[in-house]
């Protein structure tokens, strides 16, 4: 894929990746391993990881699927920042230095870059992430473009966990719902067709709910979909204080 010429002559680079390795089956401690890889100008970190897996060490393990930033499989910490490996072009990183790749934080590492996502999904499911409506319309419900726009931003979430696993509050004990769950609650709380706002606001008014957010903006910076996560959390906080969306 990457050896096709695009636009101009594509330069080739030598880069070193330090990848955090862990596999409970080999009995070794978690450790950094370095790999030298030749990459092209359009290659992403995911391409480099594939090169390692396919050419050097087949046991290197990570999740991936769509490879263009819509499925949310490959969130990882790249040079200390949460990003999707398939959306991070290597040429945009500082190639004079090694590239550090490690699993996202706050979730148990299963193997190499694979973490246990279940606590993350449980928090998502706990906020009732589905439309709650008592009416049974025969056709579509009417919703004005303005009402539709009200929750546009939070419909973009791909559940990659880049936000939640960048949150210092989530790192401390993993009890906090975390930004992604709140984003998905926001998506319904501010949907004019939904009748479940009260229930969700009550859930998020919990001690592990929105009030643990300390507005560090890590989540907003981490979101590969450009969702204004911190703003969404603030809007949920205001809605709780108002008692309605």
């Amino acid at each position: 894929m990457s050896d096709v010429k695009v636009i101009d002559e594509i330069p080739t680079y030598q880069v070193t990746l330090f990848v955090r390795r862990f596999n409970q089956e080999d009995g070794l401690e978690a450790r950094w391993e370095d790999f030298d890889v030749t990459v092209h100008g359009t290659d992403r970190v995911l391409d480099a990881l594939h090169k390692i897996k396919w050419e050097q060490d087949g046991s290197l393990t990570f999740r991936r699927s769509c490879a263009h930033g819509v499925c949310g499989s490959d969130a990882m910490r790249i040079n200390g920042r949460n990003r999707l490996a398939c959306k991070t072009l290597i040429k945009d990183l500082d190639m004079t230095k090694p590239i550090y790749v490690e699993p996202i934080k706050g979730l148990t590492v299963e193997k190499d870059l694979v973490v246990d996502m279940n606590p993350f999904y449980e928090a998502y499911r706990a906020v009732k992430p589905f439309l709650i409506a008592s009416d049974k319309p025969e056709k579509e419900r009417i919703q004005s473009p303005e009402d539709r726009e009200r929750f546009e931003d939070t419909t973009k979430c791909i559940l990659c966990a880049a936000c939640t696993s960048s949150c210092p509050v989530f790192w401390t004990d993993g009890q906090y719902f975390g930004p992604a769950a709140i984003v998905n609650a926001h998506r319904f709380i501010f949907d004019s067709r939904d009748e479940g706002a009260e229930v969700r606001l009550d859930i998020l008014n919990d001690k592990e709910g929105v009030w643990r957010c300390r507005t560090t903006f890590n989540c907003t910076e981490a979101c590969p979909r450009g969702i204004e996560v911190t703003k969404a959390i603030a809007e949920v906080k205001q809605a709780i204080l108002r008692g309605k969306p």
């Binding site: 894929m1 096709v4 010429k5 695009v6 636009i7 101009d8 002559e9 596999n23 409970q24 089956e25 080999d26 359009t42 594939h50 897996k53 396919w54 050419e55 060490d57 087949g58 046991s59 393990t61 991936r64 699927s65 769509c66 490879a67 263009h68 930033g69 819509v70 499925c71 949310g72 499989s73 959306k87 072009l89 299963e110 193997k111 190499d112 694979v114 999904y121 992430p129 589905f130 439309l131 409506a133 049974k136 319309p137 025969e138 056709k139 579509e140 419900r141 009417i142 919703q143 004005s144 473009p145 009402d147 539709r148 419909t155 973009k156 791909i158 559940l159 949907d191 067709r193 939904d194």
Partner: protein
């Protein structure tokens, strides 16, 4: 080597695949029967989420439209190889399918008066081809994402049981009926036998047989491959769609919605070349015609770029606010991956392997067929893995998101009906033996061949020999290469010997399915000595209705492939020359 632990489960309905079709089916079965959905990915990672442009339905919210026009467009778009009874169902049930999704919460874009907005898409026309029509219901350029999220949200609401990161590797048949599937649990390496009265395959496509593709890494055709290995036929495998606008060199999809919103394809001279190929609807011609036109421009030396090997998608005349509101994701792809600013620069594009029109033959109840007519009781298939056939020789854009909803729902309804009256088919004692043997062979092989090397050679030969243009010679070359790769595959090496999260092992298994399906595709393409829809033979450049107005049916016959034919169902529309 430790033998895997084996677990047994019993359900009424077992659904394989958690993309759009699988989850739409689960929403029908879950409330009525004990249902398990088994998926190699967490559900929202499924490739339905990558679909962009929309879902066709003649709602007539913004202009006059009818399901009958939609049926005609689908039949004509499929170059008359569409089964017209199925296309009628697709078009008739489309309106309810969209309403279902809206009622479930899907955030469609809205008209000023609050109804679901609609836009133009390739091949969808008013009154049998007079002009493009606004039929595609959409949510920006992330309609598939919204469908996938909405369906998953509703599965959560209904408490559907999922087994995520479980790879189904075998279908257990007993006396011609499905008894169970065997799945490999990624996290542990354990095997699970899921007995089901009804079993639904909704496993998606197999774009990874090609090098340049819009498909995810995980789209390796496992489900279709399993059906093939069971000796059941595959239908119309030669018809594979190449989407015109993949990002050049990368294959990442740029939705046809761009052209629906007014974007124009240009060659190196700046000419709007589609005016020559489809004078009436130009850039909104069906995908097979646009893809071929693009390839032809490049062949004849009018390609753009330093190597003249792509054409340009021009959005620069569209107001930036329209681009931001309606095409935000795809313009970001152009910026992220090619560093091109679509507001001001045309985007380099070239056809990318996108969608399998063929697959597991089914009837309009989504029941799987074991020949031209006979139903396999209790076995269902829906979505891209299936062939109903509503797409014929070429699928229209926005008809696949529709297909998964209409036929996913139907698969669910009929699977429940069957499960309520049927008994479990006994699972034979040796149910897991084949899977254990396959995995142990792979894990312990001391070969020298690398999976990635074989896969790349397969993808290279498919792009070179079985893509937009095909000839007897090129297809023979592909067959010879696949035969060579099969031999080398016997000596494949898996480095990771572990039980936990062994993706190295699974990539080796997936390659086996890719090789099988690539071979079937090429073999059927060779037998179809005509050009129709997405299948273009340079040595037989015209459609031949006398001989080939039939579906191909490929059967596994030992290590050989036997090809038979199946009549097309025609109701209202006699084949005509296809002009746009």
């Amino acid at each position: 080597m430790a033998k895997p632990t084996i677990h047994h489960h019993e359900y009424d309905v077992v659904i394989v695949g958690a993309g759009g079709a699988g989850m739409r089916a689960a929403i029908e079965t879950g409330p009525h029967t004990k249902t398990a959905v088994i998926s190699k990915l967490f559900p929202t990672r499924s490739h339905t989420g990558a679909a962009q442009g929309g879902m066709a339905a003649a709602l007539a919210n913004v202009e006059e439209d009818s399901w009958e026009w939609h049926t005609f467009d689908t039949v004509k778009g499929g170059d008359y190889l569409v089964d017209q009874d199925a296309a009628e169902i697709l078009a008739k049930e489309s309106v309810q399918a969209v309403i279902d999704l809206e009622n479930m919460g899907l955030p469609f874009n809205r008209t000023p008066d609050g109804k679901i907005d609609q836009r133009r898409f390739g091949g969808h026309t008013r009154d049998h081809g007079k002009a493009p029509v606004r039929r595609s219901c959409y949510a920006a350029d992330r309609t598939g994402h919204m469908i996938l999220q909405t369906l998953y949200q509703n599965c959560v609401k209904l408490g559907i049981e999922f087994y995520n990161e479980f790879y189904v590797l075998d279908l257990v048949m007993n006396d011609g009926k499905p008894a169970a599937v065997v799945a490999y649990e990624l996290a542990t390496g354990d095997l699970h036998v899921f007995a089901g009265k009804s079993i639904i395959f909704a496993t998606g496509g197999f774009g990874k047989i090609f090098k340049t593709t819009s498909n995810a890494h995980t789209l390796t055709g496992d489900g279709v491959g399993i059906i093939w290995r069971k000796g059941l036929p595959l239908e119309d495998m030669e018809f594979y769609q190449f989407h015109p606008t993949g990002l050049a060199g990368l294959g990442i999809l740029l939705s046809e919605a761009a052209r629906g919103e007014g974007a124009i394809l240009r060659n190196s001279t700046g000419e709007r070349f589609m005016e020559r190929y489809a004078p009436t609807i130009k850039d909104l011609a069906p995908r097979d015609m646009v893809a071929r036109a693009m390839a032809n421009e490049v062949r004849e030396g009018r390609g753009a770029g330093p190597n003249k090997d792509y054409v340009l998608l021009d959005l620069t005349h569209l107001p930036p606010e329209v681009i931001d509101a309606k095409l935000p994701d795809i313009t970001e792809f152009a910026r992220t991956y090619l560093g091109v600013e679509p507001y001001t620069e045309p985007v380099p594009v070239f056809p990318t392997a996108h969608y399998a029109m063929g697959g597991i033959p089914t009837n309009i109840k989504a029941e799987v067929l074991s020949n031209n007519k006979t139903v396999v009781p209790g076995l269902y298939a829906a979505g891209e893995c299936a062939c109903v056939s509503v797409h014929g020789a070429n699928r229209l854009g926005t008809n696949s998101l529709l297909d998964i909803n209409v036929f996913g729902k139907r698969a669910g309804i009929y699977a429940v009906e069957y499960a309520k009256k049927a008994k479990h088919v006994p699972v034979p004692k040796d149910a897991v033996d084949e899977t254990v043997a396959l995995l142990e062979h792979m894990r312990n092989a001391k070969g020298t061949e690398k999976v990635a090397v074989l896969r790349k050679e397969l993808q290279d030969t498919m792009d070179l020999n079985a893509q937009v243009y095909r000839t007897e010679e090129s297809l023979d070359e592909a067959l010879a290469k696949i035969a060579e790769l099969r031999k080398r595959y016997e000596h494949v090496q898996v480095q990771d010997k572990g039980m936990r999260f062994n993706t190295d092992l699974l990539e080796a298994v997936e390659l086996g399915f890719l090789l099988d399906l690539a071979e079937v595709l090429v073999a059927t393409a060779k037998e179809r000595r005509e050009s129709r829809g997405g299948h273009f033979r340079e040595d037989y450049p015209t459609r031949n209705d006398e001989k080939f107005m039939v579906h191909s049916m490929a059967y596994k016959n030992g290590s050989k492939i036997k090809i038979d034919w199946k009549p097309v169902t025609i109701t209202n529309y006699q084949p005509m020359e296809r002009k746009y």
